[in-house]
Every structure is written in C-alpha cells, then in structure tokens.
Subunit: 240 residues, 2 copies
C-alpha cells in the first residue's frame, strides 16, 4: 500500500478522518504508524496529499488530512476483457487499476467458462475492492469504470459505438496478426479487446474486425491475460 485511500465522506469538516478495519490494521501492523507521522493519502475520485497521524489505537486511526495534488493522468485506454478465471481476475483487476485504465467491460467469450459468471469475484463489491488495491499500489485515486456483459455480440454490435469515445482507435491483439502493435499517441483513446486464455475464437475475431477492431500482434508468444494486459498497455503507450 503506497497510498492510503479515503472516501470523501470519511473526512469531517475539520479535515479529520477516523479509520477502522483493513486500513487501520495495515497502518498499525505493516506501516507501524506513530502519532505525528505523515502518511501518503488520496481521496477516492479526488486529490492526493499527506495526512498526519493524530492518534492510533486498536480501535481507530485518526488522521488530519491535507490533499492538494491531482492524481496521475489516465492511460486513455478502455479494455474489453474476456472474463479471466477467478484466480487470474484477482490479479488482473488490480493490475488494470494500477495502470490507469479508464474503463473495463468484462465480457463473455466462447473460451470463458460459464461458471465464472456465478463466481463471487464478479460481485461488484469484490471487484471494487480489487480496484482499490491497484490504486493504493499505483498512487492513484480514480477508479476505472467496471461493467459486466454476459453477451458479447450485442455489446460489440450495439453498445460499443456509444461506449468508446469518439475518435478512439480499436485494436485486437492476436498472436497471429501480421501488423505489430505500435504505440498510439497519448491524445488518442485506445480500446483494446483482450481474449481469454486460449484466445478469441475465429468467429469472435471476425465480430471485432467487422466492428472496427484492427488485429495487431505482440509477437507469436501466447501470453496469459495477467501478462498480456500490462504488455499490451506498455506497448500501446510506449514513449508517451
């Protein structure tokens, strides 16, 4: 945890926040905070800065908050991500949040097991917890928008037009594509369609192609989702 995240309504009129639960535990047991110490904090969806520890006990951590800095710039990237297996999802979502992705829609695909949609890890509250882990790691306060779509075709055909910002570039990374994935200027929003382990099936590649997604390659290596996502993000924003 490189940044302690606060909710705006946790800060009172005097700029004081009283924390319990996971953040109290982390502050006491990992950071071993003492009264007077300064911590790096951020307000979810808002500014970042420091907080002085007013007091700490087994019951609560009381902080005097002073936030004046804006969070880091966004990646300018939206992800259409085939639902990973639950174990991988627990790593991909924090990674996606730490990389500053703007928007994620978790979609169904032929190679996604149906049972994943019944998994507890897809509960909105659990996903938001994973997002906060990523923000705490990266020192950011802005959550990506997270959505789930159980039907891929209507999402790609009907929703994507309004979902993706105007003028955005749509790319579908694929090991067998002939065009290498090249950096895209930071001013252009990028929508990436990242398949499940085993990849998109040909019908899905065709569906994305028909809807403006250009196939691009990171090379012939078959990468796991949790490796592919940062590799693709790194490549698409290289040098920006």
């Amino acid at each position: 945890m490189n940044l302690l995240l606060l909710h705006e309504d946790e800060i009172d009129g005097q700029g004081e926040a009283r924390l319990t639960g996971r953040r109290l535990e982390h502050a006491r047991e990992v950071l071993r905070v003492q009264a007077g110490q300064s911590l790096r904090v951020g307000v979810l969806g808002g500014l970042m800065g420091t907080a002085e520890v007013v007091s700490q006990s087994a019951e609560a951590l009381v902080l005097k908050v002073n936030v004046t800095q804006p969070p880091p710039p966004r990646a300018g990237v939206s992800l259409v991500l085939a639902v990973p297996r639950p174990k991988a999802l627990k790593r991909v979502i924090p990674a996606v949040a730490s990389l500053g992705v703007d928007r994620v829609v978790l979609v169904n695909a032929a190679r996604v097991e149906k049972s994943y949609f019944d998994s507890k890890v897809l509960a909105q509250e659990f996903l938001e917890g994973l997002v906060e882990l990523g923000l705490e790691q990266a020192c950011d306060t802005v959550r990506p928008t997270l959505e789930i779509r159980e039907r891929l075709k209507p999402f790609v055909e009907d929703e994507l037009a309004s979902w993706a910002p105007a003028g955005s570039v749509r790319l579908i990374p694929h090991p067998h594509a002939s065009t290498p994935l090249k950096p895209v200027p930071a001013s252009t929003h990028v929508v990436l369609a990242i398949g499940p382990d085993g990849g998109w099936v040909p019908y899905e590649v065709e569906l994305f192609s028909k809807n403006g997604f250009a196939p691009v390659s990171l090379g012939p290596r078959v990468l796991r989702g949790e490796v592919a996502v940062p590799a693709v993000l790194g490549a698409v924003r290289a040098g920006t």
Copy 2:
C-alpha cells in the same frame, strides 16, 4: 499448457517419448488425450512440432514425436531484477520466460528482505520449474539463463561489462525519471534494471547510472514487479 515440453534425452532413436509425472497427469486429466490424438510439443532448447499419442495409461503417456519448427525469436532483453517476494517470484519467473527474456540475474537490493535468499523458491530446480511453466504457456523451448547475485555492487561494477552483450542499451525504469521509456529497435539488445517493490534506493539508482543505465519512466504510477516487467518489456519492444 499450450506446448508439452520434452527433454532431448526422453526421445529414443525411433522418435518415441514415454512420459510420467506432471505431464502425464496434465495430458490425462486436463487435455484428456486419446491414442491417435496430436499434441503440440517442443524439445527444451530445440525444435517444436507435434506428437501423436501412441498410447496412454495411468503409468505412462507414449508419444511419437515430430519436431521441425524453430522456436519463436528471443526478446533480445536481459533483466537485472531485484529479488521479488517469494509469492511474486512465482508469477514473475513464468512471465519472464513466456516473454522470451534471454537472461535474468536476480540481485539483492536495499529493499529486498534478506530472508528471500533463504527461500526455497530461489533453489535452481524450483526456478527451472517456473521457467518451464512460462515456456509451456508461450509455446517456446528456450530457457532464459537464470543467475542469482547476493551482492549488487560487484555485479554492477565488475560483472555487467562482460555479462551484457556489446552494443546493448542499458535502461533503469523509474517512476520519477524525466525521459519516457521508448521502443528500442529489435536488433539492439536491452538490459533492464527492475527494482523491488518500493523501488531502488537513491544509492542504487546512482550505481546503475554510473554504470551506463539511463533512467526512463513509464509514467508516475508505482507498479508491482509482476506488472512492471511485462509493461516495460511491452514498451521497449513495441512495434518490433
């Protein structure tokens, strides 16, 4: 497992291999192979191709091997990697192998806990197992060279000159560097120094700088090792 890895000495004069253990189990329980079926195989350090299942039983999987294709090209990247915490190492090493990294030296750093060097996950045999997981994922047969150095300074000052290929570019990714990390042509070997969670300390950054490493930034976000490694690799080889 997208590729079944074989050791050269497992293949007899008639091109037959008899497998037991983890690969037998995987073939029977996950792939549910049947006699006559074709599997994608690779010979460690050698060619890739297919193998026909001659027979399968609880005791052994017998394959008729036919390998004619070269493995995918290397990334042309060496990593100087501060030893991650054991749990992260188990994810980073397969990722590094799947990305085709040529050489990895796991080094000590101020923010690496001493106890990590006593961890079983740094045993060569365990590391090689992690490497093979990454190769099986990526469909590659070539292992990165793996070394461990408990003393950073003599490694950087004395060994790096002969360790890194002549003409290679040395980069140290750092969130506060002012130069963005840009793609490097595939023909130039790149040596990357990737710090521990919490980053290199100023003394270490200076040590690398003095020894030809240029600080480069992927942006102000603080990324975990397992996210930073693929992001940096993706960026440095973007478009190639």
